[in-house]
Every structure is written in C-alpha cells, then in structure tokens.
C-alpha cells in the first residue's frame, strides 16, 4: 500500500479517528460523532440481521397454507418482532443515526455535531431500547403486532412483555428526538464559512426535514406508549373500552407519529439517492432547489395524513375524504424528486459502480412503492385493500425496497470514508443484483395475493394463495443471499481491502475533502463551503488514487 496518497496527508492532519484513543472504553464513551456513527451502524446491522431471521421464519411458515412450521402463537410473535425490530431498530434509525452521524459534521466542515454529549446519550438510550426489545423475547415474546393496537395489546392477561416493549419504544423514540435536535442545530449553526443554505448537500436537506419530524412527531409516540404503559398497569380508562377508554384514540395518536415516521425512513434515503446519482453521473444534480424544498414539503404534508390508516375504523366519512386528499398530495413532491433524479442522468457520464446500481434499482422500487401508495390513499380502493397483503407489499417496497436499498447504496458509497478501505466491486455488484431480484420476487406476488383478498397477519391461509406465497418465500431466500453477499463484501474489505484514497468517487461535498478515514478532528484546516455538485474542479488520478483537485491541494 505504499505510495497511496492518503499516507502523506495523514501524517499532516493527525491520526485517523479509528486509532485516536484505544481500548473498548474509548469507543463506548466516545463523543466523536464518527465513532458513535460506527457503533450505531454495528447495532443497526445486527438489528437488520435479527429482523431478517424473524422474516425468514415467517416466510417459511407460510410455505404451506396450514402453516405448520411453528404454532399460530409463535408465528404471531415472529411477525410482531420482525416488524418491531425492523421498524424501530433498523429503518427508523438506520440512515440518520448511522450514516447521518458519520457524515453530517463532515458535510458542513465541522469538528463534531452540535451536542456531542447528547449524541452519546442518544446512542445509549437506543441501546437500552434495543436491549428491552430483546428482553421481550426472554420473557416469552409479544404477539400484538408492531402497531400495538389496544384493546388486544393491553389485555389484562398480558404480562411483562408488553411493558418491556412499550418502554423500549419510548427509549428508542427519545433517542430519535435527541438525534433530530442535534442534526438541526448542527445544520443551522455549524456550517462552514461560505456555505449557504443552498450550498448544502441534499442529504443534509433531507436530514433537516427528517429532524423536523423526529422532533415534533416522536414525542407523540412517547406519550402514547407512556399512556399505554400506565393503562396496562393502573387501568386508567384512556384506551381500554372496558375501563371507559377509546381504542380509536390510540390509533390516532399512534399514526400521528407512525405515519410521519415513514418519512423519517424515506427522506434520508432520498437524500442518499440525491448524492449518489449526482456523483456517479458526473454532473450537477438537476433542480437542486426543487429537491430540497420537496423534502420539506413531504415533512410538512406528512404530519397531516395519519388518518389514512383508519379509513375502516369507523372514522367519519368526511374525515376520510380530507385525509384521502392530503395523502394523495404526497405524490407531488415524490414525483418532483423522481423526475429531477432522472433528469440528472440525462447527458451525464454514468459510472455503474455498486452505489449507483443500488440507486438505479431504487428508482424502480420506489416507483412501485410510491405509485401503489395511490391505491391506498384513494378511498374507494383502500377499503378492499386495507390490511391485506397489498398493504404489506406496498410498505415493504417503500420501507425495505427503497429505504434498505438506499441504506446499502449509502453504505457502499461512504464505506471507504468510514473505514479507509475499498470493497471488492464484483461482490458489491453481485449483492446489488441479488437484492434487486430477490426483493421483487418476494414482494410482487404479495400485491397479487392482496388484490385477491389475502389478509395480512394470517398464520394460515386459503389454498388459492399457495403459489404466490411459495414464490415469495423463494424470493426471500434470494434477498437474504444478496444481503449476505453485501456482508461478505464488507468483511472482506475490512480484512484485505485496498487502501481508500481521500476521494474515491469524485464527490464534491466536503466529506471527500478530508482523508479516508478522517482524522479525529475531521479536517486539518477548517474548510470553506464549496458548491456540492460542481465536479469541474476535480480530476481522476490513474490507478487507485481516486480524484484530486485540479491544480493541486490548494485549489479548493
């Protein structure tokens, strides 16, 4: 590895954050946003694995219409834990907490996030929440579904499991609020000199919009689960009809958070797509301001659509009509983003590396996920499709397809920056292809099953759906194989990957202006803001040396 350009620069800027401070304590109590990001990444990757194992049990159970792999109760616990772990421990925190923590301060040229101690607290709250989720397994699991609807979830026969789960959600939510506060304060106040609002990378606009939702929607989830906890223990009569409460009120509270939470998941994913599509098309992102503003629009409209989860709950007709209209409006900013991304490809210089392959598959999958959302936002079609496999397929397209694929894209994209190592491009490409294929084979049959009337959360099902379910299970195996190949690529990179140059992809955002991996204080000299999508000042060095500023170090 001698002669890699990183080495000489490394000496000048101080040692890498990976070797600054040794021992396990220097990680667990680190205030360095990069180390906290890496710890989040490890925990989130583990959650993805755990949720994936639950998913495989669910899929194999559904191989036969009469179930049979596990008991009905065990199946119900499996899909509950699959949903809860994936949502609260993988898709919600995934991109913001793991990648956001690593990248946000770098992108604004700062040494750290605004409140490093709060950031560490946020991480440990998340760990505590995750531990409580796993603890529910130890005390026998819960079978409430991740939506935790009372009266079922708070019946008096339930024991410790539900209380642990509610507390876990509360802690994970608190962690999410603190992360949002940190990102918004960092983006507002800690931008590099000369970096105006419209010089921000679009990933930051996306995280800014995400932060708004995290701060203003998550507390409602907090009070909801707190009320659920107290209802179960003290029988207050808030949500339980047998004590005079209203179970539909819970649904309002729950979805007031949990629908915006979908945008907590998808907005950062869209942010990654915006970064990657520009860098690998080698031309400025098309319609920067429209993409930025559409993130904010999605965040704002996202607060007003929760009622579409309750079209058949007995909610008044006119409430349904209004929620339906507001829901359909979300299509507009999503369409704007999609068309701007496509226009970015136009006349570009498209480099088909792994992150870009993931992004291209994101276009198709987010397209399907978004467009099938229309069927569920429109009242006439939502009534029959509600709570069928159509819904399951739709939200997996958005939350797994779109979010997880963007997560992987971002991970391959920033991996060299995080670890200082390149990954094997062949393994990356193989994983992207397998994940795309596996994903579609898994979930397209579920649209058909749902349209034909197969309800979700069924441990057993009618004979007519057996074909679709088996294809879906085969797809799940392919998808799992794709994820394992990605894991293989990362492990192999850590063991024997080539040293990464500072700027392997030719990105113009500030994180590429420092070494890979960055030093403890991020930058040797505090950088000035640049135009994030102007690639004219970069030229590619031969071999593995990556991209360097035209005219040497001083040109930036």
């Amino acid at each position: 590895m001698t002669g890699a350009p990183g080495t000489s620069a490394q000496a000048a800027v101080g040692e890498s954050y990976l070797t600054h401070g040794r021992g396990i304590g220097s990680w667990l109590f680190s205030l360095d946003h990069k180390r906290i990001g890496i710890m989040y990444l490890a925990l989130i990757a583990f959650s993805l694995f755990l949720g994936g194992v639950f998913a495989m049990v669910v899929r194999f159970h559904l191989w036969n219409p009469s179930g049979g792999l596990v008991s009905n109760d065990a199946y119900n616990k499996m899909f509950t834990l699959h949903g809860a772990v994936m949502i609260f421990l993988f898709v919600i925190p995934g991109i913001p907490s793991a990648m956001g923590n690593f990248v946000v301060p770098l992108m604004v040229g700062a040494k750290d996030v605004a409140f490093p101690r709060v950031n560490l607290l946020s991480f440990w709250l998340f760990v505590a929440g995750a531990v409580l989720f796993v603890a529910t397994l130890v005390v026998g699991g819960i079978d409430t579904g991740w939506t935790l609807y009372p009266p079922y979830s708070l019946e008096s026969s339930r024991g410790l499991g539900i209380l642990l789960a509610l507390t876990g959600v509360f802690l994970a939510g608190f962690s999410s609020i603190l992360t949002g506060v940190n990102f918004i304060a960092t983006i507002h106040r800690m931008r590099a000199p000369g970096q105006g609002w419209f010089d921000l990378p679009l990933f930051l606009w996306a995280l800014y919009a995400t932060g708004i939702i995290q701060i203003f929607a998550t507390p409602v989830l907090g009070i909801t689960v707190a009320l659920g906890f107290l209802e179960r223990v003290f029988h207050l009569g808030i949500f339980m009809p047998e004590y005079g409460g209203d179970p539909v009120l819970f649904q309002h509270f729950f979805w007031f958070y949990s629908h915006p939470a979908v945008y907590i998941m998808i907005l950062p994913a869209m942010g990654i797509v915006s970064e990657v599509v520009a860098v690998f098309s080698r031309k400025p992102i098309f319609g920067y301001r429209f993409i930025a503003m559409s993130s904010i629009a999605i965040a704002v409209i996202g607060f007003l659509v929760w009622g579409h989860h309750m079209f058949v709950s007995g909610q008044s007709r006119w409430a349904n009509v209004i929620f339906s209209f507001l829901t359909l409006l979300v299509a507009i900013p999503s369409a704007i983003k999609t068309f701007n991304w496509l226009a970015t490809l136009y006349k570009g210089h498209i480099v088909l590396k792994t992150p870009m392959l993931y992004v291209l598959s994101f276009f198709a999958i987010f397209g399907v996920g978004g467009l099938t959302g229309l069927f569920l936002g429109a009242l006439a079609t939502d009534i029959p499709l509600h709570d069928t496999y159509f819904v399951v397929a739709h939200f997996h397209f958005v939350m797994v397809g779109a979010v997880m694929i963007a997560f992987l894209s971002g991970l391959f994209y920033w991996w060299p920056k995080m670890t200082g190592r390149m990954y094997d491009e062949r393994l990356g490409v193989a994983s992207a292809v397998l994940v795309f294929l596996g994903f579609n084979v898994t979930f397209i049959p579920q649209f058909l099953a749902g349209t034909q009337g197969m309800p979700r959360r069924y441990a057993t099902y009618a004979e007519q759906f057996v074909g679709m379910n088996r294809v879906s299970t085969v797809g799940a195996v392919l998808l799992a194989a794709g994820l394992l190949v990605a894991l293989w690529a990362f492990v192999a990179s850590l063991r024997s990957g080539a040293r990464a140059p500072a700027n392997p992809w030719g990105g113009a955002t500030l994180e590429w202006a420092t070494t890979s991996p960055p030093p403890h204080d991020n930058f040797a000299v505090a950088p000035r803001g640049t135009r994030p999508y102007d690639y004219r000042g970069l030229r590619q060095e031969p071999g593995q040396a990556g991209w360097v500023p035209v005219g040497g170090e001083g040109a930036r």
């Binding site: 605004a114 409140f115 949002g180 304060a185 203003f216 029988h235």
Partner: protein, 235 residues
C-alpha cells in the same frame, strides 16, 4: 470527555475554558445551545399535546362529567400554585439577568429562590393529592368519592347523582398534573445543579448557557401549568 476540554483553555476570558472544542467561539456555542433547547422544548410541547388532545376528546364526549368533576378540585389551591409558579418564572428570568451582569450573589439568590418556589409548588400538590386519595378519589374504575367529600360540594352539585365514570376525569387529572409534576421535579434537580456550579463561580457574562437553557425549560413548565389550571380547576 477529556479530549473536549482544553484546546482553548489558554486563550481569552476565564469563561473560555467552557468552550467546547468543536465551536468556533463562545457566541456560536451560546446560539447553538439556545437553538437546541428551543427544539427540545418544541418536542416537549408535542409530548404534552397528546394529553391535551386526550383531555379535549374526553371533555367533548363526557361534557357533563367534566363539569361535575371539576367541583372536586379546590381552585384556591390551584390559584396559589399558579402564583407560586409564575413567581418562580420571574426569579428564573432574573437569574439569567444576574448571570449576564456578572452579579454572582444575585445569581445564587435567584437560583435558590426558584428552587424553593418549585418545592413549594410540589408541597401544595402533595396536599392536594393526598387529600383526594384519602377521600377515595382515584383514577379509572376505582374512583369512589367518600360521603364526606361529597358533602363538601356545592348544594346544586350534591343534588346530582355521582357519575359512573367519574374516574375518567381523574385519570386525566392525575396524568396531566403528574407528568407536569415530574417536570417540576426534573427542574428542581437542574436548579440544584446550577446552584452548585454558580457557587463554584462558573457563570458570568461570558458563559451562562446552562442558566439560560434551564430558565427556558422552566418557563415552559410554568406555561403548561397556566393551561392546566383553568382546564382542570375552573371549567
């Protein structure tokens, strides 16, 4: 944590020792911290809003019940606590001014005053709670007011039958005032911490972020009570 101290220690005013390494200067640190606190308070407002919505929904569904139940709450106790909390907000605001002016004695006094007023609030609240719980006024289905307390109600109210679901009102009462009370307790802890630091002489015109932040939090706690008092005691 050690790697965040130092760095700037040698330069500038004594308060510079509190400048975290990742901020450009003291002003950037103050402005960033204030933004952070405001965002957190926004989150707090939404946290309480869940309870206010529950209050609104149940009030709309059980109008007569809510009107009946508020007679059990002593508005004089509520009013006393309102005065106590508003005064504490004033002294909290004063403490920020003292810190900005470098008046260390005034700062310690106003912080201590705020803490004492917060304690007074909780003592009054304790008497209200224990009085109710002794009279059988609990939450949910277990709420059975004793004949003695029913006899204290106005005659026109005594004539009415005791509503079956009286506990619904008191579930919400205990929830809202209880959550508010927890916030008062947390505030007292924060003021205790501030008094400790103020005694050590940490705060001055160049560095008063914690005093300012805690005071903002305290004003929110006060504000929430100003909504709770009329909603629960008066209407």
């Amino acid at each position: 944590m050690s790697d965040h101290a130092g760095g700037h220690a040698a330069t500038g005013t004594p308060e510079q020792r509190f400048l975290a390494h990742h901020f450009r200067d003291m002003d950037a640190q103050l402005q960033t911290s204030k933004l952070g606190i405001w965002l957190f308070l926004g989150s707090e407002v939404l946290f309480f809003s869940g309870l206010f919505v529950a209050y609104g929904v149940y009030r709309a569904n059980h109008y007569a019940l809510f009107h009946y139940a508020h007679h059990f709450l002593d508005w004089r106790m509520g009013a006393l606590n309102t005065v106590v909390l508003v005064s504490s907000s004033l002294s909290a605001a004063w403490s920020v001014r003292c810190a900005q002016l470098g008046d260390r004695r005034g700062l310690r006094l106003t912080l201590l005053l705020t803490l004492l007023l917060a304690g007074t609030f909780l003592v009054v609240k304790y008497f209200e709670y224990s009085h109710k719980l002794h009279a059988g006024i609990t939450w949910g289905a277990g709420c059975r007011p004793s004949p003695e307390i029913l006899a204290t109600l106005p005659a026109s109210v005594q004539a009415l039958p005791v509503p079956r679901d009286l506990g619904t009102f008191f579930s919400i009462y205990y929830l809202m005032t209880g959550l508010h009370g927890i916030h008062v307790l947390v505030g007292m802890g924060l003021y205790l911490w501030l008094i400790g630091r103020a005694t050590r002489g940490d705060f001055g015109p160049g560095y008063y972020v914690p005093v300012d932040a805690v005071a903002l939090y305290w004003h929110l706690v006060d504000m929430i009570w100003i909504f709770l008092f009329p909603l629960l005691y008066l209407i």
